[in-house]
């Protein structure tokens, strides 16, 4: 084991963990104020149950020695996952690092169902999803599964995290259905500074996501770090130029979105491409997402926070361009089209399609099964009130005006009545 590597991976793991609260701010700022807490909680809550099932079962399904499709139960309950070396770091630390990826991936899906999915149903969904969808896909690429054998390149999770989450997001948006106001009223972000704060913290955490995926503190981490700086910078520059050329103004929400798109695009390529290629990839990567965002808003698809446009198209573009720009001189082995290996582009494309199909299909089955035992979305009246009050019994921005303290005796009644109690006699106050 190597103490420098251990130190870097400890820091990286904490950085990636910070991305989930960062995502909460990014998403939370984009919704209406009546759903601010609910939307932030959809990301935040993944830190609990998802992390627990990851330790109990998910890690084993993804990383225990098994077949081409899935791991095994050898590491279930963290059996045999201790302080012995896994590469140059303790096995336990590797499990934690991978756990932070497992946490943020289902949280990404929440952007497609924000402002109308019942919180209980969402909770059940992401907890099952991380075992049924995320763990096998992670195994295919990083756990010695068949995509790794095919030679697919996915440095930090372009397909495993982003295409995977976006495919689930597309299906979830269709199954849960659009918000009742979608397409009828303007639905605007309630706190754009939150969106920018979230984007900034995501970028910060992403240095752990990408450079940490080197699993060591060496040259590969440095390359991935540089590319994680340069690619989003190029996407942001490119996005700004498109805005200006189209005669528009440079927007804050656009800039925050561009940073996330750039980060997604470089994720699969971070440790495989030259820094100049990262700039090229970032710049090219702006285009599909930019126009998909504009087009999506004109369709009936209420992918509320554009998970498909940002993570799906960004992830797919990144995965495919990894097959173009990968160079042995930088990657230490893998070559793409520019390195004289055009076949890599097809391998990358195949990996995207396979992940897309599996994640979409399984997500559909999971949601339909869940719908048999619980409603997936809240009623129209509750949707009008907002999920902060109906599903959480809290408000993001309350002044406390008119709040009447419920005495201990009544409070047991209040909790049993879930979210509302009728006031007897109407005007008794």
């Amino acid at each position: 084991m190597n103490n420098a590597d251990i130190a870097w991976m400890l820091v990286s793991t904490a950085l990636v963990l910070l991305m989930t609260p960062a995502l909460a701010f990014f998403y939370g700022g984009l919704v209406r104020s009546k759903n601010a807490l609910n939307t932030m909680m959809m990301s935040f809550i993944a830190l609990g149950p998802v992390a627990v099932v990851w330790a109990l079962l998910g890690y084993s399904l993804a990383f225990a020695p098994g077949g081409p499709a899935i791991g095994s139960l050898a590491f279930a309950g963290l059996r045999g996952v201790g302080l012995e070396a896994q590469g140059t770091i303790p096995h336990l630390l590797f499990m934690c690092f991978q756990g932070t990826f497992a946490i943020i991936t289902p949280a990404l899906i929440s952007g497609a169902v924000a402002e109308r999915m019942r919180f209980n149903a969402y909770l059940a969904f992401i907890t099952a999803w991380v075992l049924v969808v995320y763990a096998p896909v992670a195994h295919w690429v990083w756990g010695g599964g068949f995509l790794a054998s095919m030679g697919a390149l996915d440095f930090a999770g372009g397909a495993v995290v982003h295409v995977n989450a976006a495919s689930a997001a597309l299906v979830a948006a269709l199954v849960v259905g659009p918000r009742k106001d979608y397409g009828r009223h303007a639905i605007l972000p309630h706190n754009v500074p939150f969106v920018m704060l979230g984007a900034g913290l995501l970028w910060f955490g992403w240095f752990g996501f990408n450079a940490g995926s080197a699993l060591s503190a060496g040259t590969t981490a440095s390359l991935a770090f540089a590319n994680t700086l340069l690619a989003p910078a190029a996407t942001l520059a490119s996005w700004t130029l498109i805005d200006l050329v189209r005669g528009g103004r440079v927007t804050a929400v656009g800039a925050a979105t561009a940073i996330v798109v750039g980060l997604v695009v470089v994720t699969p390529a971070a440790g495989y491409i030259s820094p100049m290629s990262a700039i090229a990839m970032g710049a090219i990567g702006a285009f599909p997402s930019y126009f998909a965002l504009i087009y999506r808003a004109k369709t009936k698809l209420d992918d509320s926070l554009d998970v498909v446009a940002a993570h799906g198209l960004g992830g797919a573009t990144g995965a495919i361009l990894t097959g173009v720009f990968a160079e042995a001189a930088w990657s230490g082995g893998a070559n793409g089209l520019l390195g004289g290996n055009p076949g890599q582009v097809l391998t990358q494309l195949a990996s995207v399609v396979i992940v897309l199909a599996y994640s979409g299909g399984m997500t559909f089955a999971l949601l339909k099964a869940l719908a048999l035992v619980m409603p997936l979305r809240i009623g129209d009246r509750h949707e009008g009130l907002g999920l902060d009050v109906t599903d959480h019994g809290e408000e993001a921005y309350t002044h406390g005006d008119g709040a009447i303290l419920v005495k201990p005796k009544e409070s047991s009644l209040a909790r049993s009545a879930v979210d509302v109690v009728a006031v007897h006699g109407g005007g008794a106050l």
């Binding site: 106001d181 009828r184 009223h185 303007a186 009246r381 009008g384 009130l385 009050v389 019994g393 809290e394 408000e395 309350t398 005006d401 008119g402 709040a403 009447i404 303290l405 419920v406 009544e410 409070s411 209040a414 909790r415 009545a417 979210d419 509302v420 109690v421 009728a422 006031v423 109407g426 005007g427 106050l429």
Partner: protein, 123 residues
């Protein structure tokens, strides 16, 4: 001339504005208010503190209209602001002594007849 004051649900405001503008009722003022009516109250919990929220968020709309606009405006409010649940709000109609349009000094009927910025002045 009447002053129509409507207290409506915030989530119905877009529907109400759309319907009013469609009927060419274009002069109005809104304010965010809190009120108490007959609706059920939400219980909120913050750590150990449980509270009943006795005031609900509402939007107050004020519209000064000439006499022949009173009934159409009320009809629009009644349909566009309605959900059928307790808490849909109230409409109050008040007499007005005088109305002035500040820009021109016009009064009464002339002052509440809509003008469009683009029809009588260049931008």
């Amino acid at each position: 001339m009447k002053l129509i004051v409507a207290i409506v649900r915030p989530e119905k405001l877009s529907d109400v504005l759309e319907a009013l503008f469609h009927a060419d009722v274009r002069g109005l003022t809104i304010s965010r208010v809190q009120g108490h009516g007959g609706e059920i109250e939400h219980v909120e919990n913050y750590r150990g503190t449980s509270v009943k929220m006795a005031l609900a968020e509402k939007v107050r709309i004020e519209i000064g209209v000439s006499n022949h606009f009173v009934q159409p405006t009320i009809a629009i409010l009644l349909s566009a602001a309605r959900t059928g649940e307790v808490g849909d709000g109230k409409i109050m109609v008040l007499p007005i002594e005088k109305i002035y349009r500040i820009r021109t000094g016009e009064s009464d009927q002339d002052a509440v007849t809509p003008v469009h910025a683009d029809s009588n002045q260049s931008l």
